[in-house]
Symmetry: C2
Subunit: 131 residues, 2 copies
DNA sequence: GTAACTGCAAAATATTTGCATCCTT
DNA sequence: AAGGATGCAAATATTTTGCAGTTAC
């Protein structure tokens, strides 16, 4: 009774993955839509992003304000890992959200807590804006 | 030219602060609205929450999925601190978001980065649900 | 009395769904 | 050709804004 879904490689998917790969930071749906200049519909972007996340090619990050950003997993050092335990930095000036792969805080939870996913975001001014 | 705003103590504000204080976890706007049972309007809840955040009585947490939760600052050990550097735990089963005050990862950022705010959330199963 | 606060209606955003059509495989 | 993917329209949230009437101080 297993429903096997085969993902296809389409123009939209390729463009979206490329846009995310080229970006040096995570992008919101709106930023992606702007960057893609109408190559495909807004709705398609939502759907493709969902598929890319299922395929573990993209990961979804909740920014410090709750807005969702998407990042190509190749930007991180551990593309196939479920846990993205590294820190994200969100700049209050240039609005960029970047992955600080090197920085992975070690956290030990109290007994009984089982960790499945993490989202560590620090906000402030990045090294480009902090002059 | 300074505009001094004096916040007032109103019925809605008192009820909302009480609801958040009674809760053992952070609540979303929708959860608050339900708990308040029509004591005040949805819009009022948004506006009161904004005020309470300005007054540093409540803090705003982006949950792992990007949804916004509000927590009474008395739940934390450092009510007046700007930085809420402790870890939040978001349970995938019971949907509760709690503050783990004791746990504060130490993070050292690369040169040039200035830290203003943090949001560390870990998701999984809490000690109540993990049986 | 005055300025902050509230409720209601309406606008602005953001995300999801339905469905006919188009494209990969 | 079969079923996944897309575009467009429309339905659902979710959050914000305007404004007239109310209330705290």
């Amino acid at each position: 009774m297993e429903t096997k879904v085969t993902f296809r490689n389409t123009q939209a998917k390729t463009s979206i993955l490329l846009a995310l790969s080229e970006a040096k930071c995570a992008l919101s749906h709106a930023q992606l839509n702007e960057k893609l200049q109408g190559i495909c519909d807004r709705v398609t972007i939502y759907r493709v992003l969902d598929r890319l996340i299922s395929e573990k090619k993209v990961h979804r990050i909740a920014d410090i304000d709750g807005s969702i950003k998407y990042a190509s997993c190749h930007q991180c050092n551990h593309p196939k890992t479920e846990l993205h335990t590294h820190v994200h930095f969100s700049c209050q000036k240039c609005k960029m959200l970047i992955c600080l792969d090197q920085i992975e805080p070690k956290v030990v939870l109290p007994d009984g807590f089982e960790i499945k996913e993490t989202n560590f975001t620090i906000s402030g001014f990045c090294n480009q804006c902090n002059v």
